[in-house]
Symmetry: C2
Subunit: 524 residues, 2 copies
C-alpha cells in the first residue's frame, strides 16, 4: 500500500524561472493596465541607456507606442537605441532567457542588475498578445539582423521564429513588443511622465517619443558630454561574507590565496593579503579552490582587524548637483531650486552608494501629487520623485526607504506645510548594487545606512530651503513696510510743507534710501 | 577587429535561480537580523502546517531556537511536524531546489504557493553558517532517514552530504537550519509574536516553542476538529487568458476541445463547451494541442458570452467568525470583540477569495503598535494584524492592500481616534492564489477587487464597533447621572423631611427604580 507521502509527492514538479514569473508577473511590475505598459517602456529604455553608456556613446533613444488594429487595449511598443548592437548568437538568450545577461555578476552601476527585465517584457507581450518580440540589431559591420523571438516558458529558453538579414550601415538595437490588456494614459504613472523623469535625471540622453495619437515629443539632451563608461568595482573586504569569498575563490585566476585576495578584492595589496593570511592562520600559498569554510571565516574576520582604505567609489556615476538643479529648473520653472550631492557612504559593510537630493519650490513644483494627472490644475502639496541609478521609480512608493526617510522628517521645522507646499523633492540613490525590495525594482529596501543617509541628505537640502523661505517672508514684510512709506511719506511731506508754509521738499532720495535699507542694500 | 558588441557580450552569463536569490536574499525576506530569523521560522512553520493539513491530521508543530557555541548571532532553528513525511528520493529537491514543489502548479489554498520558501532558508543557512540543513523524516513505514542537505547554487540542485537510516515508528519531518548574523528578540517582528499570530489564526494547530533561553511556551489548539483537506480548484473560464488556455491544452488528457474544456475548467459542462466551440467557430473535435492562438482568443471571448455559474469556492478554507473571535478574546482579553466572514468574491475575473475581519476593543487590544515590543507597557493606538491564508504577514505593512484599505477609512465616523484607540483590527484574505507583491510573501498587491472587498469588510465590522462604542458612552453618561441621584437624593429627602417636620421616607426603592431606568432595564 502506498503511504500518504507517496500519494502527496506524486504532485511534485520542477518549474522554470520563466514559468514562475509568468504566474507572478506582478512581481516584475506587470500589474494594472497602465503600469504594465510603463513597465515595458521602462525595461526597454533602461536597457538602451545602459547599453549606450557601456558602448561609450551619447544615448539617443527613440520610443514609439502605436495602437494595433484600433483596439483600445492593444499596443505595439518600440524602443530603439544607438548602442553597440547585439551579436546574432546572443539574441535568443538576451530576449528569451530570464536570469541571463552581462550585469548580474558584476558590481557595476547600471540601471539593470538582474538579467530579467527585457525577457520579462517579451514574456508579457507573448502571454497577452500571442505575438513574438521583433528584434532588429546591428553591431555596425554592415549587416542588420531582424529576428522574431519567443520564450519557451517551460525551458526558460529563447527561440527565434523568423529571421532576416540585410545590408545597412546602421548600428544599434530596436525592440518591438506587442501587448494586449494594457492602456495608455498621460498620468503620473504613464510612459510620458516616465520619460520626462528620465530626462530630468539623465541630461545627457536624447529621447524622442511618439504617443499613440501621433504626438511627437523630443526631450533634448542638455549636455553633449558622454559620461565616463561605468566600471565594474571589485567587492571590498568589509562587505563580503565567507560564502562570497569561497565563490570568488572557485572562479579566480589567482593561483594562491595571496594572489587571489589582492586580485579579486578592492583595496587589498599583496602585503595586506599576506598580513591577513597570517592573522587568519591560513597558508598564503594555499590554492584558493581548497579554502575551507572555517578558513574563509577567519579571513573575513582578519580583514576587520587590519587597516584598509574605504571602498573605492570611482565607479559610481551620480548625476551631480548642477545637473539636478538645471533639470528641475527646466521642467518645474521654480522660484527656488537647490541640490546637493553627498560624499559616498557604504552599506552592509562594503557596498558604496551616493545620495543626491534636490528641492524645488514654487512654479510647477508640488503639482504632480500622487494620483493626479500631471497636467491637471489644482492643489499643490509636497511631492517626491525617486530615482535609483538615474532610473525613475514611479511605483511602490509606500514601501520605499526614500519615502520612509521623507516621512520621518518634521517638515514644520523647515517652515514647510507638507500638505500644501508647492515643493518637489528629488532623490537619487546611485550604487553598483541597489537593494531593491523586489524583482520589479520600484522600491529600495530599508537598509539602515541607506535610510539614514537619505534622511541626512534631505535635511541638508531642507535647511537651504528654510533659509530661502525665511528670506522670502522677510522680503515680503519689508516690501510691505516699504509700501507703507511709499504711500504715506509723500502725503506727510505735502501736509507738513503746507502747515509750515514752505515749499514741498523732494522726498525721492529719502524714499530711495528707505527702500534700499529695506532691501538689505545698506545692511553691510 | 572585434566590434564593441563582441567585446561587451563576452560578459554575457546565465545564472541559476538560486544564484539570483542568493544575491537578492532580501526579496525572500532575508533582510535584517531579526526578520531573517523570523523568516526561517515562517517558512518552516507554514510548510509544516500545509503538510499536516494535506495529510489530514491535526497539526502538531514544534519549534526550537538554540544558540550555537554561545555566540550572540549564531542560532540553530528546528521545526518539526507530524505530517506525511517525505519520501527519500524527494529530499534533495524539496530542500535544495528552488521553484520545485507540490503547490506551484495547483490552484489550492495553501500557505506556500511558490516552491521557493524552504529552499530559501536552507540557502540562507548555508551562506551565513556554511552548514547544511539537517532533515529527519519518515513516511511512517518504520524507517527514519536523516540527511544533511546543501544547495549547489550554480546548478540550483540539492545535494545530500551525509545520510543515515534507522528504525522507528515515528512519522513526520524535522528540519534543522543553522544561521549566523541573525538575532533573537521578543519584539513584534520576532518569532514569538509570529507564532502567537499563527495560533490566533489557526485554532486547530498545536505549537510548542522553546526560546534560546530555554523558556517553553505551548500554544494549545483550541479545537480538535481536523479541518477539511484543501482541494485543488480548476480555473474558472472568467479568470483565464488565451495563453493559460493553450498551456492547459498542452498538458490535458482530454482528446478533443470539448472534453478538454469541460475537464480542465470549473463550471463547464460538455454542453457548455459545445456551445462555446460553436460561438468561437472552433471545431469541437479538434485536438487540444493543435489549438491556435486565434482560436484560444475566440474561446476566451466566447466564454464571456455564455451563462456560467460563478467560480466554486468549496476549496477555500476561511477561519470563520467564531474562531477569529475566540482567538482574539483569548489573546487580547478585550471588552468587545466582533468578527465577520464575508461571502466569496472574485478578482481578475476568475480567482475566488474570501475576506474575514475581526475587531477587538479594550483589554490588550491596540498595544502592539508598530515598532513597540509586545510586552511593553504604554500607549495604545489602532493596530492592524494581517493574514493571508491564515499565515501572519508581519513585514512590509506599508505596501500591502490591507493597509491601504484600513488607511482609506475615515475612522472618526466610527467614533474611533485611530491614534489612541485600544483597537486591534484583524484581517485574513483566503484564496487559492494570493497576489503577493514579492517572493517574500509579506504583502498583498493592490488588486482593485481585493482592496474594495477588504475595505467593505472592515467597514462592516467597524459599524458594529460603533454601536458598541455608542452604547459604552451612553452607559457611562447614565451611570454618571445615576451617581448624581444616588448622591443627592438621600440628602434632599432628609432635608425635605426635616423642613416638613415629617419622618424621613425610605428612598431605597426609588433609587433602585431610577438606577433600573438608567441601566435600560425598563426601557422596553
Amino acid at each position: 500500500m502506498k503511504t500518504m507521502a507517496e500519494e502527496l509527492f506524486k504532485e511534485f514538479r520542477e518549474h522554470s524561472v520563466s514559468e514562475f514569473f509568468r504566474k507572478n508577473a506582478a512581481m516584475l511590475g506587470y500589474t494594472g493596465k497602465i503600469r504594465s505598459l510603463t513597465t515595458i517602456v521602462h525595461e526597454g529604455v533602461t536597457n538602451s541607456i545602459d547599453a549606450a553608456e557601456e558602448t561609450g556613446v551619447l544615448p539617443k533613444i527613440s520610443v514609439m507606442i502605436k495602437r494595433v488594429n484600433d483596439e483600445p487595449e492593444h499596443f505595439r511598443i518600440v524602443v530603439e537605441d544607438n548602442a553597440s548592437g547585439i551579436p546574432r548568437e546572443y539574441i535568443p538568450n538576451v530576449f528569451g532567457k530570464m536570469l541571463a545577461g552581462t550585469k548580474l555578476h558584476r558590481y557595476m552601476q547600471s540601471r539593470g542588475q538582474q538579467g530579467i527585465g527585457v525577457s520579462g517584457s517579451v514574456m508579457f507581450g507573448q502571454i497577452t498578445s500571442g505575438k513574438p518580440a521583433t528584434v532588429t540589431t546591428s553591431t555596425g559591420k554592415g549587416e542588420i539582423v531582424r529576428a522574431d523571438v519567443m520564450i519557451d516558458v517551460d525551458r526558460n529558453e529563447g527561440k527565434i521564429l523568423n529571421e532576416e538579414k540585410f545590408k545597412g550601415k546602421w548600428q544599434g538595437t530596436r525592440v518591438e513588443i506587442e501587448a494586449k490588456g494594457v492602456s495608455y494614459m498621460r498620468s503620473r504613472y504613464g510612459p510620458f511622465n516616465y520619460l520626462r523623469m528620465t530626462a530630468i535625471s539623465n541630461p545627457h540622453v536624447h529621447i524622442t517619443f511618439v504617443e499613440p495619437d501621433g504626438t511627437l515629443t523630443v526631450f533634448e539632451n542638455a549636455t553633449d558630454k558622454v559620461p565616463e563608461r561605468p566600471k565594474p568595482m571589485p567587492l571590498h573586504p568589509w562587505g563580503i561574507m565567507s560564502d562570497d569569498l569561497l565563490i570568488l575563490a572557485k572562479h579566480t585566476k589567482g593561483r594562491n590565496v595571496v594572489n587571489f585576495l589582492s586580485a579579486e578584492l578592492s583595496r587589498v595589496s599583496k602585503r595586506k593579503a599576506e598580513e591577513v593570511c597570517k592573522l587568519a592562520d591560513v597558508p598564503p600559498n594555499k590554492k584558493p579552490s581548497q579554502l575551507t569554510w572555517e578558513e574563509a571565516e577567519r579571513i573575513v574576520s582578519a580583514f576587520k582587524q587590519v587597516k584598509l582604505y574605504a571602498p573605492p567609489t570611482s565607479g559610481l556615476r551620480p548625476i551631480g548637483a548642477a545637473d539636478i538643479e538645471s533639470g528641475m529648473r527646466q521642467i518645474l520653472n521654480p522660484e527656488f531650486v537647490y541640490a546637493i550631492n553627498r560624499p559616498p557612504k557604504v552599506y552592509r559593510g562594503g557596498l558604496p552608494f551616493i545620495v543626491e537630493v534636490g528641492v524645488a519650490y514654487g512654479g510647477s513644483a508640488g503639482k504632480m501629487t500622487e494620483g493626479k494627472g500631471e497636467n491637471e490644475e489644482g492643489e499643490t502639496g509636497m511631492e517626491l520623485i525617486r530615482f535609483a541609478n538615474r532610473a525613475p521609480l514611479i511605483f511602490d512608493q509606500g514601501g520605499c526607504a526614500i519615502t520612509t526617510a521623507m516621512r520621518s522628517i518634521d517638515w514644520r521645522r523647515y517652515g514647510v506645510d507638507s500638505a500644501t507646499a508647492p515643493l518637489t523633492l528629488f532623490v537619487n540613490v546611485a550604487s553598483a548594487y541597489v537593494p531593491y525590495t523586489s524583482a520589479g525594482k520600484q522600491s529600495i529596501a530599508d537598509e539602515p545606512e541607506v535610510l539614514d543617509e537619505v534622511r541626512t541628505a534631505i535635511m541638508e537640502a531642507a535647511r537651504e530651503l528654510r533659509r530661502f523661505l525665511y528670506r522670502k517672508i522677510k522680503t515680503k514684510e519689508r516690501q510691505e513696510r516699504a509700501g507703507v512709506f511709499e504711500k504715506y511719506l509723500p502725503i506727510i511731506a505735502q501736509k507738513a510743507a503746507r502747515l509750515a508754509g514752505v515749499k514741498e521738499p523732494d522726498i525721492k532720495p529719502l524714499l530711495k534710501k528707505v527702500a534700499g535699507v529695506e532691501n538689505g542694500e545698506e545692511e553691510n
